[in-house]
């Protein structure tokens, strides 16, 4: 892993009226890694992603992406990122190929047809390329959605709950895609409420709970947070689920429903 930092967040706060969603978040994401932001509904995951992708201004604190400040240099940040939001942001009336060509055209790229054809093949959508997206399954939409985010090869990719609402098969497909991207040097910040997803994909995991990062490290480092005594009696590694529930405690219901 390189020592370069792709995303640096310091003391980020955000409130909606008197509801404090982020209460001082610090994050550091090494370039080329997969970083999972893990948390329950309403923990503030989407709020962080929206601030990092210049859709929302933080109340306080700083965030830089690829060396550019998201608040003061947002246009430059948008050049190096791509956002895949919680719901597949695809145009239902257009075909899969037209969706890809539109993004390529907006990014003012040449060879739009070739770009679209390559991505359609890469995401196994060639057969459906000329069909309207309205006829696509949930998994196909998500694949198209991610494919659209890759146009222009942005070095930093935000995936906000990329597998929520997908069936297990589609989920595995998305995982394979994310791994491949990171293999090519793309920095991926993904949010998830699925513990196994973080466990499977991420180089580093941060646990966001009630607007604060309460744990941050590799899976092995997080594992050390459990009391070692347990290892003597149980001959298995603690699952991330156990770690998560241990450190967030049982009062996380309070945060539910305040999702932005």
């Amino acid at each position: 892993m390189t020592t370069e930092t792709a995303i640096e967040v310091v003391g980020l706060t955000k409130s909606y009226s008197d509801n404090a969603v982020l209460r001082g978040v610090d994050l550091s994401v090494p370039a080329g890694s997969i970083f999972a932001l893990l948390g329950s509904n309403g923990a503030g995951k989407t709020t962080i992603v929206r601030i990092l992708s210049t859709l929302l201004k933080a109340d306080d604190g700083t965030a830089t992406v690829n060396g550019c400040d998201v608040a003061t240099n947002s246009a430059e940040v948008r050049r190096s990122i791509s956002l895949t939001g919680q719901f597949a942001a695809v145009d239902e009336i257009l075909t899969g190929r037209e969706n890809l060509a539109l993004i390529a055209r907006l990014r003012r790229l040449k060879d739009r047809e070739a770009i679209a054809d390559d991505l359609l093949a890469q995401f196994d959508l060639t057969d459906a390329a000329s069909r309207r997206v309205a006829t696509y399954s949930g998994g196909m939409r998500r694949r198209l959605d991610i494919a659209m985010s890759l146009i222009g090869n942005p070095p930093v990719l935000f995936l906000d709950e990329p597998t929520t609402g997908l069936d297990p098969q589609a989920r595995l497909e998305v995982w394979a895609t994310v791994r491949e991207l990171a293999g090519h040097g793309t920095t991926v910040l993904l949010t998830t409420q699925y513990l196994d997803e973080a466990e499977q994909l991420a180089d580093r995991i941060a646990i966001l709970h009630q607007g604060r990062i309460i744990a941050d490290g590799t899976l092995a480092e997080l594992g050390k947070l459990l009391p070692p005594a347990k290892v003597e009696y149980v001959e298995k590694q603690p699952t991330l689920e156990e770690i998560f529930l241990m450190i967030v405690g049982h009062d996380d219901r309070r945060a539910v429903g305040s999702k932005s």
Partner: protein, 253 residues
């Protein structure tokens, strides 16, 4: 940056024109209601309405054109609402493109779609006996006023498009606009209305716009009405654009 705005706007205009091409019902529905109203008033109610010496369809058409636009711009709110609710809005806002291009793409789409609907309505009116000796300049003046009116109402439609919580909410704002022509000189002369209603009818924007278009078609001098109509349209456009941009900037920051 300027070329970005133009290039991005054209790309997004192409996208929503393709939407219209694939579901032409948006244009047909927009034209159908005014055409039905035109038929109802010309063939059923019009016989009992005294408007002076000319054909009633000639009297009626300008108001019907405004109703066409007022119902057509609801689709701008709906299209924008769909983009916001599906996440396409956020996707585009997080891309390195001119951020206002999405709004301009929708506004220009509204202009094109409404002009097509207007042509359909005028063609039907011609079949019903509408005639005008107006020259090219007068037709261009009518076109100019209708374009200004469309732009003003479209920017107004941008506001619910960005802020609505449901599809119904996004569309509902246009109902009062569709009904405004009924309390104006669009269907009957204002002189027969009781005091306060008459005052309202004579001072609301639709009457001056309708009278201006009517005079242009009848080859009559437009007089002060023309300036009042332009002032209403330009004023509404300015206020609507400012409010829409304010709403937009609040949404993206």
């Amino acid at each position: 940056m300027r070329t970005d705005v133009a290039s991005n706007t054209i790309a997004l205009l192409g996208r929503s024109l393709r939407h219209i091409l694939r579901s032409p019902d948006t244009i047909i529905t927009t034209a159908l209601t005014p055409i039905a109203m035109l038929s109802l008033f010309v063939y059923v109610l019009g016989g009992a309405i005294r408007t002076g010496s000319g054909r009633y369809v000639d009297y009626l058409l300008p108001g019907i054109l405004l109703i066409t636009i007022a119902s057509g711009i609801a689709y701008t709110a709906l299209r924008l609402f769909t983009d916001v609710s599906t996440g396409i809005f956020e996707r585009l806002q997080s891309m390195p493109i001119a951020r206002s291009a999405l709004l301009w793409g929708h506004v220009l789409t509204s202009l094109v779609a409404n002009l097509i609907s207007l042509v359909l309505v005028v063609l039907v009116a011609l079949l019903m006996g509408f005639r005008s000796g107006a020259g090219l300049l007068a037709w261009l003046a009518v076109l100019g006023i209708l374009v200004l009116f469309t732009l003003a109402l479209t920017w107004l439609a941008v506001i619910p498009g960005l802020t609505a919580k449901s599809v119904d909410g996004a569309g509902a704002f246009s109902y009062p606009l569709v009904f405004l022509p009924f309390i104006s000189s669009a269907f009957v002369p204002t002189s027969g209305m009781p005091g306060p209603v008459r005052w309202f009818a004579e001072h609301q924007p639709v009457t001056s716009i309708v009278n201006t278009i009517r005079d242009l078609y009848a080859e009559q001098p437009v007089g002060n009405n023309g300036w009042i109509a332009i002032a209403w349209c330009a004023g509404t456009l300015l206020v609507a654009y400012t409010l829409a941009m304010h709403t937009y900037h609040r949404k993206i920051s």
